[in-house]
Symmetry: C2
Subunit: 500 residues, 2 copies
Amino acid sequence: MSSAAASIADRTWEGAGTAEPLLAELRGALGDAHVLTGADAEGHLTDQHRRLTGRALAVVRPADTAQVAQVVRLARRHRTPIVPQGGNTGLMGAATPDGSGRAIVLSLARLNRVCAIDTDNDTLTVEAGAVLAAVQQAAREAGRLFPLSLGSEGSCTIGGNLATNAGGTQVLRYGNARELVLGLEVVTAEGEVWNGLRKDNTGYALRDLYVGSEGTLGIITAATLKLYPLPQSQHTALLAFGCIHDAIAFLGAARAGFGAGLTAFELMSDTALGLIAQHVPEQPIPLALGAPWYALVELSDSEGEEHARERFEAVVGQSFEDGLVADAAIAESLAQGEALWRLRDEALGEAQKRDGSNVKHDVSVPISRIPDFLAETAAALEERFPGVRPVAFGHLGDGNLHYNVSHPAGGSPSDVFAVEDAIHETVHDSAHAHGGSISAEHGIGQTKRDLLPRYKSAVELDLMRRLKAAFDPLGLLNPGKVLPPAATPLRLHPEASPAP
Amino acid sequence: MSSAAASIADRTWEGAGTAEPLLAELRGALGDAHVLTGADAEGHLTDQHRRLTGRALAVVRPADTAQVAQVVRLARRHRTPIVPQGGNTGLMGAATPDGSGRAIVLSLARLNRVCAIDTDNDTLTVEAGAVLAAVQQAAREAGRLFPLSLGSEGSCTIGGNLATNAGGTQVLRYGNARELVLGLEVVTAEGEVWNGLRKDNTGYALRDLYVGSEGTLGIITAATLKLYPLPQSQHTALLAFGCIHDAIAFLGAARAGFGAGLTAFELMSDTALGLIAQHVPEQPIPLALGAPWYALVELSDSEGEEHARERFEAVVGQSFEDGLVADAAIAESLAQGEALWRLRDEALGEAQKRDGSNVKHDVSVPISRIPDFLAETAAALEERFPGVRPVAFGHLGDGNLHYNVSHPAGGSPSDVFAVEDAIHETVHDSAHAHGGSISAEHGIGQTKRDLLPRYKSAVELDLMRRLKAAFDPLGLLNPGKVLPPAATPLRLHPEASPAP
């Protein structure tokens, strides 16, 4: 036993002796350099926000799909759980092992090749460990757009994006990750390879099932993705609205006027912009504060600069005349457009960080219910936790709100984190009561797992458990993620159903 | 026992006596008028093309979701299979019972209410038995577009569209039925109701799994659908191309120039247009025949008539100058546009019928592989079946080709139907060899069921069987559809997998 292996095994696994044969087999299969233990493994055992830390027997780094399958077969023979990991940027802890130290972490980082680009077919085939920005770049070099875009794109992987069904700022036009994939290659719990990379509408939708399953049903090793034409021109503006109803009415007008050209509609509350003004003074805000709602709106045009400008100004101008838009700052150059996007992409996160962290949510609410959701959630929070400040922003076009809750002015983050669970419950209950959902683009992982029984029916949880048992009967694929522990035994037996 | 019941029971089920208790319970639950037997049931036992006829204990017509669930629980208690049926327009026999006479047909026709339209949220909630045209109409009356559009829209139901993951002429822009649904309500094999109508990205993708499962995993009873803005203007043209490569290059130019405005690209071969000229002389064809390929192209514009015309003429004009487009007939009026669509929607089908029926396919091939697929398939057919005439047309923008094979000139349909299976194999093998699939928008049903093992891996078939066993352990939901009989036992036991 090498000293490094001894160190991590001692730290993580009381029955270390029983793990050694597996580690030796993994080293034999992948080479010593790709079975990380000790300090080399540390970075893989904690999530990026350092809120969750787990333990593991080892972190393994297979080189290709065949090695992933081999690792799964070896782990399976030793009844050892497997935690798949991409860029380790997930927000819900799906890629962090639990504290038992029984699992291995399977990093997809070395599977990072762009395998094929087909511009006639507008598809790109890529391995799961490719970084999202590299996938975007490969598409751009071929004169195409891969539209998935989100904050961590410089380090998250496409496999992780698919495993969590990631969203992002372009979801209004192009949909979540699931809608951007035509085919998958997946290693099953038995260590077999399902090659489903070709577009295929026959049979059950395995592709769609694996997307969003966070490594609990299989391990995505490659994907065939959809590409789109690069827009000829993009126009961006920051708009102010006198009330949330006006913002929603303008969204309707922009949908009608821009059609599919409307590629982003990022809502931000006055509180959100106020935090930027206070904590990130170097970030310009081209509108006066004081309106309750703002939105960053993007038009992508397939015809060119002049047409885009005319079209943009026509729709915004008409809405201004109609009284829907209270104020507008239209970017006059690429640089101004980028500055507006920095407001949303960077300054808003930085401002919340400098203000002290807050209690975060990723809810989805039908757009027509958002006004009531906002009013009632704010009232419920104020009643239960006087003075807390809701910081609401998000992809309004998709009904996805990041409804974060900051501590009262003059207080400190511990004011809200001391009652974190109660705040979560208030916000999630309200989203649910308004026909919404408690996660839109971040997944479930370990963090939201135990919330599901409150918001999902027993029928749905039962169907999910049947799926898990069917695809992973030994329960070795990312155990403890997504699925809450069963309060009652699985209802797989046909006689257990209710009488008619 | 009523005489009608006796008649169908005698005709369908040798052990009629054992069926009577179930029939009595169904009558008690639904009322006599909604348990059809005898002549009243006949229309539900044969597919619309009258190629498949089955038998059944009865056809039941529940009024709502609760009654659907009740029927499932009653049938389950009697271990009686259930064949769900919408408009009975399917092409693969998924809604036709088998010949055993053991099943009941469950018609969703009475569940035809439009439950809610939410224009702020751009969603429509509808029961499964609503006719597609009624769904389109309800959307239109609310100032919105529900884009699913296909030949049988006047009689097919949205539930059937979802169960088969239907495609249609707008799939290039809006995707198959699966991409148009946000939520589902489903009755499970146990007769429980899963209410998944709200948009919800948490947990496993049950919604996407039920879509396309053709009633074998659950019975869809309602759906929440996506709506889109109505286009302000649409322009249609018939274009001629000197070779298939030019048609594909023009598709690329139209994608780049029209962006999401490109809503249809319907390819038709010279043989296809020639059949119309020969058999449907009342249908005008505004271009000279003689080019090998034609396409009906549609631009949908969100800005208006003048803009649409300019844009259309700019892209088509440039491609004409570039030599990609050999000839073009641009519709100058709504009436001319509708006449062009009739060419594709009605005349083409009628011409094939008048020519004598042909052997039909619904393949999907990556667009970049279509030229080789066309050349090699035609050569393989000519070698094996000299003189047969491929009639190729389809949704080129989605790689979906209806590659039909007509009898040699001077012969009769029996020439091709005598070798139907060999023709299917030739066409399907070629599609598969070119990275394609044997069904794009028609589903699998019973007709293509036994073809799957030739084109799907054992791994995939095994995963499909696990899904079926997990969701329908008694095998009562539409048995014999989609899933081929297992040649080997289910590999559900964890030890049955290969050694590492």
